[in-house]
Structure formats: C-alpha cells, structure tokens
C-alpha cells in the first residue's frame, strides 16, 4: 500500500513538475523577448539612455531567471545566451548596424528556443 502511495506521489510530482517547468519556460521566454523588443525599439528611436536602462533590466532579468533555468536546460544553451547578451551590449555602445540587427535576431531566437527545447512535439520526441 505504502509503495502504491509512493508511486502515486511520484507520478503527481512528475506531472506537476512538467506543468511548472513548461510554465516557467514560457514565462521566461515571453518576459525576455518582450524586454529585448523594448531594447530594439529604444535603440532604433536613438534613445541611448533608455536603451542602456532597458538593456540593464534585460540582463538583470536574465541573470535572475538563469538561476532556475540552469537546473532545467543544458548549460550550453544558457552560455550561448550569456555570450550573445555580452555581444549585444558591445554592439549597442557603437557597432555595426547590420551586426546589431543580427544580434537582436539571434537573441530573439535563443529566447524563443528556451521553450522549444522541451516542448511536446514530434520533432523533439523522434
């Protein structure tokens, strides 16, 4: 009986964990993409101070979320985002516009990909 209860608890925890993880990844992706869009918008309106402020917010938000994401995703994926954020910071302080645009695109893809790694899909299973 105790074994059955234990297995049931494990089942519930596993199922609950799946839902929570999926929700957290979705939230993170959404929040980070939204901040990135704000950075992009602010940069194209040539508001340097505002851009700097939003970028800092984006980086802080990312660092906070990375503490949990590190236990959910392969560390390589997080390292890629850290590097791209540093690259973006560099480009924002005076870089090639084409490269900057590419960096925005890449970060957007990496943030979107946070949910895709573990998304329930045919491609992810097979």
């Amino acid at each position: 009986m105790l074994r059955k209860i234990f297995l049931l608890i494990i089942c519930i925890l596993l199922f609950g964990g799946c839902i929570l993880q999926s929700q957290y990844l979705k939230d993170s992706s959404h929040a980070l993409r939204s901040l990135l869009a704000q950075v992009q918008e602010s940069h194209y309106t040539h508001n340097e101070d505002q851009t700097e402020k939003i970028y800092t917010k984006l980086y802080t938000q990312w660092e906070e979320r990375a503490n949990i994401l590190i236990s959910l995703l392969p560390h390589q994926q997080l390292d890629d985002i850290y590097l791209e954020l540093a690259h973006l910071k560099c480009l924002l302080t005076g870089g090639d516009e084409a490269e900057l645009s590419y960096s925005f695109e890449q970060l957007d893809y990496l943030f979107t990909h946070l949910t895709k790694t573990d998304m329930f899909s045919f491609g992810n299973i097979f």
Binding site: R3, F6, L7, I10, L14, I70, S71, L72, P74, H75
Partner: protein, 238 residues
C-alpha cells in the same frame, strides 16, 4: 569538482532507492523487461555524472519515469495473462522423459553447452534420469528428475522430523540487536544477567549471540570462545 561529487552521490541515492522499490530480485531472476529497465536506468542516470553541463533533472526524470513504467508493466503483467505472455514469454520444455527436445532448444537459441552447464549446476548430468527440464522466462533452468531418481523425503520415508528453529541474532559485536530482540520478544535485562553469570564483565565482550524460538543459544565471545546450550523455551521472554 564538488558538483560532480554531489551529483554522483545524489544519483547513487536515487538509483539505490529505485532499485529498492523495484524489489529484491537478483540479476539472474530478472524478466526481459526488468533487464531492459535496469540497464536503461543505469545509463540515463549516468548522463549528468558524465557531463557537468547537464542538469541533474536530465538523470532524475528519466530514472523516475522508468521506475513508474516498471511499476505499470508489473501491474499489467499481474492482471493480464496475455500481456504477461507477451512481455515475459512462456516457459519452454527442453527435456522431456529423458530426451532432449532439440526444436525447442533451437527455438530458444539455447546451445547444448549452455544446457549441459545448467544441468551440471543443478546436479543432474544424466539426461535419461530427467523427467522435465524447463527453461523459465527469467532464463533459469528448472530440472525435475523422475520420482525414482529424486531424493526421498522424510514424509515418503514416514520419518518424523521437527521443523527447524528460527534463529535470531540478539547481540552483534557487543551491542544489542533491536530487531533480533523484538523477533523473539527477548528481555534485555534477563539476557544481560545471563551473560554476566557466564563470567563476562559486560555484553561488549560478546561477538555474536543467537537465540532460537526453541530456546537454543549460541554465543561466541571476542576472544574466540564459544558456548552453546539448550534453555527452556521462552527463557528470556520479556
């Protein structure tokens, strides 16, 4: 490096618990689906240990999933005969009436060398004396000799034999063994007094003391001296 050590220790604990939940079967007694799950658990659990960049849950979740799958298959096998046959297979008779059933042996991919080895292990090398040899679903060979070749039992000989006593270790390495004491409802004080009366200064001098439910006692002290006696049944009872 501390992370690897911690991860390894945690994975060991989880694997250990998983195996405990799976039961106490030995490797040779596992069914095919159990072997697959055991191998897989060992493999997936090792992933975070091998690669420091892989989160712990990448080993934990697959292990737990496999455990749940195991419990589910076990349940299905218990409830459905068809599923049991499908997942575990059915026993095959390899020897019948002292004759090898070669077709069955071939069908099971069993070599004659393996068969002879198993027969030697079961102590039956004379095939003509075997009534049945059954290859069980877990890979073990059950050998049933003809009644005329089987050892006689006391019942067949109409001899009265008493049932073996249940022995429990009540003192282990100078300390009381709580579960052993509880098994036979033994009183600690009575036992301690008995040991002092035997000339020992304390129970610390005793290496092992076993008691049976019929009052048989075996004692060995740390100096190598042994003592056996038959006491009254329930002598040390609380």
């Amino acid at each position: 490096m501390i992370n690897i050590i911690l991860k390894t220790a945690l994975i060991y604990i989880i694997l250990f618990l998983t195996m405990r939940i799976m039961g106490q079967k030995q490797a040779g007694q596992l069914q095919p689906y159990e072997i697959v799950i055991t191998l897989l658990i060992a493999e997936v659990a090792a992933t975070p240990m091998d690669n420091p960049g892989t989160p712990f849950i990448y080993g934990l979740v697959p292990s737990i999933t496999l455990l749940l799958l195991y419990a589910l298959i076990n349940y299905v096998c218990l409830k459905s005969k068809t599923m049991r046959l499908f997942l575990c297979g059915k026993p095959s008779i390899l020897i019948h009436n002292g004759k090898l059933l070669y077709d069955e042996i071939k069908k099971n991919g069993y070599s004659l060398n393996d068969l002879m080895e198993q027969l030697r292990m079961s102590g039956q090398t004379d095939i003509s004396s075997i009534h049945y040899a059954v290859l069980e679903t877990n890979g073990q060979l059950s050998v049933l000799p003809y009644a005329s070749e089987a050892p006689l039992t006391p019942k067949q000989m109409k001899v009265h034999v008493s049932d073996p006593s249940f022995y429990s270790a009540v003192l282990l390495d100078g300390q009381f063994n709580t579960s052993g004491l509880a098994n036979l409802n033994t009183d600690k004080d009575k036992l301690q007094k008995f040991i002092i009366n035997l000339g020992y200064r304390s129970i610390r001098e005793i290496l092992l003391l076993t008691l049976s439910d019929n009052g048989e006692i075996f004692l060995q002290d740390k100096f190598g001296k042994t003592y056996t006696a038959q006491l009254k049944k329930g002598y040390f009872n609380a």
